[in-house]
Symmetry: C2
């Protein structure tokens, strides 16, 4: 837990330089545009602790698996987010002395992430060992308009001397991943070149053969005028740079504007990468830094129009929610259905593979409401395109007949993770992928998706479940043995309620969707079922038999669903009665002790209740919440949001707010002391859910938006934007009531506090409290 | 499965050279003397596939753990059996052409492991690419008399040429472990030197700092006369050799006798290793090869006197049982309580660490009956000396108050293994260690061991169990959650019957032993309980409460003990109904599929029944056997023996014999296609148990040996030697009856078929069938 970020409604601000915070700040002040991104590493050399990170979306490396004890079915490789060429470098040497904040006296240090306009600004004054003082300002951004480009403007003023200054913009492809399993480097050099004002390096990933051309073009100004200093070319392995030597005058600003491109062979013919790099650099440098920055601000303004949340009366909460929305938008723009949302986005390399069930369970609701429909559709298509690999994965685990098990962690559809208890057993992820289809269709009413793509995925998933259950002669019911639920503090349990319930729902929903598609477009239906050799009579009859006869654990005495068989055998000491020194359990306890305890990492039974809350009466929800939450340690960043939403539903506003607080400033305050590895991008969507579904009480039911807001005590009001079936609404909840503005040309009927309200196009209304 | 070993009652023979069998043979023809050992690598150069292996007992290396996902409590290092300097090398060059069987036409190849006298002999004729033919004989052994020494006699006869021959005896310390986690080498060179007829290398292990001096001295004879050929010294990194050049005459034998020493800093002052090497080499070379070999034969004769098993009418079974006894004696002699019995002994490096629960559960019965009492006592002391580390290990897992959890795999008491489901959860090993103490005392009546050492270990183990159980409010009984039983095809199960039953027994037995020690030697008792701060009243009362209130699963309907909670929920398809293509499961199925299946890797409930058979009536044993055996895949080499013994007890002679067959020739016939990694040393003790406890029906009850033999149909008779409380008995079971010879000066009363028989010293009697 830290507390050094200054509060501002639109900015994230760090004042004063503290090397101990530097890696945390490198994460927090990260930039991205969905196509490329980077940590907030310094432009000039820095010899202190730093985690270098530049990333190009979709470019990964299959690192050879490191495992103590091999099990059949483990993947050979773990596809890793790849640290790519560092394009931020602008080395500065003052009369032979390198500018390096680790070796300077630093004052007036300030970092500012301007979330409104989408750029990073840094200012400082540095005094070198020999006493030379310079003032520096660096502004940079990854362009949202032109997502393969970026720009940096770096200005330096000698404060107390005139003399030789060397400024060296560079591109360095000789980087490595901190999490490389065998300390290998993942890139080979393909080509490089430089000239007096530009340079590029083309790198190729080993094994996967992605090529990325990283290019730069720069302009140097002194005292506001473009100059052409004496240059010196440097070419090293995987590295190009141009040294610019000139005479600096005390008090006179020197600035370098560095235009950057990152072109990948995913999007360009590898043979034309260099040519494209030249063209793109010419185009953006002609446009100029100021124009690019203005375009950037406009692009962000458009984003904020659709997704801003305004909190009145709590600047810290305001900053936090905007930070979460900002980072989500930096990570994924939905332009490309080959991309997805990594748990750390472009802010770190941890968790290697890019896609987890986080996407479906947490991010889909956010993008559904705040982005064009195609964004979520692309997230769904990502899985559709990987269906073949999910079927292969299931085959490798002994499943047949087109059953699919989606991977736990993946980049290209291949499973990356290799802990048997997760890889092979945390199979509920398959259910979340089905749920996301349901959720998307419920929200958008886009039923064509079902016929074209959704049903095929659903059938493969339902086939998996129908083979994964087994018949217990003892119970005379179907059971689901050997699984790990969302609560990963239990492994290899039998009859995890959430997993079994989700499996039953998947089979039921698949049959419903099949009937619907069949009714609407029999030809399409027949083509599909032919192609996948569906024996509808036999298979659906098995699905149906399982749906009717699945064992779902329940404790009559306490009126709760049983997280899994044997849960009640555990010693039931509540979290509040645990010594503080034992927390967090995952750092203090050995794994077996965690496993045999009753402690829950994140919503498990409650995740199921959250997904299907309409299936349960309020007392059932309350009993389960009151039983399980006190046993939950929330040691996953994905935990508090679901609890916030359920607490809100149960009318426990204080606790809902408390849960919200645990998620909202998770990274800004480095709550878990792990932000230095990167930000918790996917759980940021959970924060959004806590506000909109929790405090806002937003639901979609029968094709309509419902709201049931309450206002946290500390807030004066809060408002959020929601896109829904063509309408764009702004919902503002205050003590006076709920104000609904329809910012679109499409009229909308919403339900507020249980009563339907028609909001005409471009109109507004107030529902009094 | 292979079938190339020739049957001979006293020898293991391979005829004809097949490179595909070479690594299997390297394992089978391994030599050892408890202090050092080696695989049957060729003396001359061999460029074909080979697994080099020379080992020095107790010298290990802590290799950095390789793990995909770290868990609290995992050990940083895995202590590995260390491939040490190769001292077998005798390079031969014929007129510039290297003798290398991979590049020669080989005829008359024969390897012979003489088990009666304890040496390895190899003969062959080789024709080189250029057509030169030589006949070679190599004899070598690791001395049982002088366990830091070995000798090789290598004789070569040029058959069709006269010419220059170079013979180069060498010592090569530049070796590595095949299973090195990060391809590191584990040895540094300390010093080396050579002379015209000798040489040594002193190596030091990284991290652990063991020093081992490997020395050689050699004599060369031509035509039966010692000669002093022209020599050439070679010193390379970690390598010494002396090239001997001379003129060979067609048909004239040249032989080199190479005397070898392996002195370790465990047993010698590191500063005097070189001096000691010189002295030892002088001593043994003065003694001469023939004398050493004669001493070797005598030492083995003495061993066989105590442990031979004679099977009449089945030479293959005869060879097999002798091979098992021979390898066990090569691996562990019980001279040194710092040593133990690695699963592969000196025959391979797999399974790294040296000590598993195999020692207590399988090897102890063998050594109790076939070796002096101190041998087993040393095995027990090994654990006693590691009690401190077992307590540390328990502390790291959250246990308190002197509770001990012995490691799953260890060299020096530190846990090496790092799979949570094994390391943290396969805790029944603690019970086997307690059981071995009980077994030792039952067999030897050495109750002083309890007061001096045993009770302290028992108390620490009982403390562990008393903390490891938890109270189930639901069951109103103690439960044992999250364990892995001997059947490792289940992980993280609740209430494994074997583990819980053993835990209860441990606590009960500990209190019994405490009472006994207290009664016999109150002062010693008080000193101990003071030292370990035993609060007898409180702690024993908790032990007692657990003993009375432990949940032990039982299925009333089928009258069986429940292997674990939920076992009956599994799909119950018997092993016989599994497709052959699915076997072995551990190669064909993914881990989750194995886990949720009903299939059992090795005796689990039945291991408990084997340990405590007197506690169960014969119908209970039968019901459990008939239920669990058909679900058992016996994919551990430790499985068939327990089943053989129980089948024999149940009178099912045919099945008992069938199980025996699966274990007896496991390595000789390479049953599981894994003998190339090394022989299954610890399971060889199980083979002995199958004969003596299974067919022989031997038990110890109330201080007396009981026999209840039956003779497998194919056999005419079988006999075995048993040492028991000073008496040495030979028990021969034939169709006529049971003949008992007392080969000692101590009279003995044994029970045969339920009737006591007094066998006077040096007398014999026949109990008719």
């Amino acid at each position: 837990m830290k507390n050094y970020i200054k509060v501002d409604e639109w900015k994230v601000i760090e004042e004063g330089f503290n090397p101990h915070h530097h890696q945390v700040s490198e994460s927090i002040f990260s930039l991205g545009n969905g196509r490329m991104g980077q940590r907030a590493n310094f432009e000039e050399a820095y010899s202190g602790e730093s985690l270098l990170g530049n990333y190009v979306a979709g470019v990964y490396y299959p690192d050879k698996t490191r495992v103590g004890w091999w099990k059949n079915g483990y993947p050979e490789y773990f596809a890793k987010v790849l640290n790519a060429a560092n394009w931020t470098i602008i080395d500065v040497v003052l009369d032979g002395e390198q500018l390096d904040l680790a070796k300077c006296e630093v004052s007036n240090f300030r970092r500012e992430l301007n979330m409104k306009e989408g750029y990073l600004k840094r200012n400082f004054t540095a005094k070198t060992a020999s006493g030379k003082q310079v003032e520096v300002e660096a502004i940079r951004f990854c362009s949202m308009v032109d997502d393969e480009t970026a720009a940096i403007k770096y200005t330096i003023i000698p404060l107390n001397f005139s003399g030789n200054i060397t400024i060296t913009p560079a591109i360095d492809g000789d980087v490595m991943n901190k999490d490389s399993n065998y300390d290998e480097k993942f890139w080979d050099e393909v080509s490089k070149a430089n000239d007096t004002d530009c340079g590029y390096v083309v790198m190729r990933t080993k094994k996967t053969g992605f090529e990325v051309a990283t290019g730069m073009k720069f302009i140097i100004e002194q005292d506001g005028k473009v100059i052409h200093p004496q240059t010196e070319s440097i070419l090293k392995e995987k590295y190009v740079a141009t040294k610019n030597h000139f005479q600096a005058q005390q008090g006179q600003a020197i600035s370098i504007t560095k235009y950057v491109t990152n072109l990948s062979s995913q999007n360009h013919n590898p043979d034309s990468l260099v040519e494209q790099t030249d063209a793109t650099l010419s185009r953006i440098s002609a446009k100029g830094f100021d124009t690019m920055l203005a375009e950037q601000a406009a692009a962000w303004a458009e984003k904020w129009k659709h997704n801003d949340i305004i909190i009145e009366g709590d600047a810290s909460a305001q900053q936090a929610i905007r930070f979460n929305i900002f980072q989500l938008n930096q990570t994924y723009t939905g332009e490309d259905d080959r991309l997805n949302i990594g748990p750390k986005g472009f802010t770190g390399e941890k968790y290697g593979g890019s896609t987890y069930w986080d996407t479906e369970a947490y991010c889909v609701p956010f993008y559904l409401s705040t982005a064009p429909q195609k964004v979520t559709r692309n997230l769904l298509l990502y899985r559709y395109k990987q269906l073949g690999k999910a079927i292969e994965n299931a085959v490798s685990l002994g499943f047949k007949n087109g059953a699919a098990l989606y991977p736990m962690v993946t980049m290209d559809g291949t499973e990356c993770h290799n802990e048997w208890e997760i890889t092979f057993e945390e199979i509920h992820r398959n259910g979340a992928i089905a749920y996301a289809i349901f959720n998307y269709v419920r929200y958008t009413a886009d039923e064509t998706y079902l016929a074209d793509y959704g049903l095929e995925v659903l059938l493969a998933i339902a086939r998996f479940w129908s083979q994964r259950v087994s018949w217990s002669q003892d119970k005379h019911q179907y059971v689901m043995l050997g699984v790990t639920g969302p609560n990963e503090y239990e492994n290899n349990v039998n009859n995890n309620w959430y997993t079994s319930m989700l499996a039953v729902w998947c089979m039921k929903y698949t049959m419903e969707v099949a009937a619907k598609v069949k009714a609407v477009d029999a030809a399409k239906y027949d083509a599909l079922t032919d192609r996948i050799s569906l024996d509808e009579a036999t298979e659906f009859s098995r699905f149906g038999h399982i749906v009717e006869n699945m064992y779902l654990g329940h404790d009559e005495k306490q009126g709760i669903f049983l997280q899994q068989d044997g849960y009640l055998d555990k010693e039931q000491i509540l979290v509040k009665d645990l010594p503080a020194t034992d927390r967090p359990l995952n750092q203090k306890w050995s794994w077996d002790r965690i496993l045999r305890s009753c402690y829950i990492k994140q919503a498990d039974v409650l995740q199921g209740i959250y997904f299907f809350e309409d299936d349960f009466d309020i007392d059932t929800i309350r009993r389960n919440f009151d039983y399980y939450e006190p046993r939950t340690v929330h040691e996953s960043s994905l935990s508090p949001c679901v609890h916030a939403i359920l607490a809100a539903k149960l009318g426990d506003e204080a606790r809902a707010y408390e849960f919200y607080l645990r998620t909202a400033r998770l990274d800004l305050d480095d709550y878990n002391n792990d932000t230095e590895d990167g930000c918790h991008i996917t759980s940021m969507a959970g924060t959004w859910m806590a506000v909109v579904e929790g405090f806002g009480g937003m639901r979609v039911r029968d094709g309509k938006l419902l709201f049931q807001p309450f206002i946290p005590e500390k807030w004066a009001s809060f408002s959020f934007h929601i896109g829904f079936r063509g309408a764009l609404l702004n919902i503002k909840a205050s003590r006076e009531g709920v104000q609904i503005k329809n910012l679109s040309n499409v009229e909308a009927t919403v339900s507020v506090y249980g009563k339907d309200q028609l909001v005409k196009a471009n109109d507004e209304l107030l529902v009094e409290a």
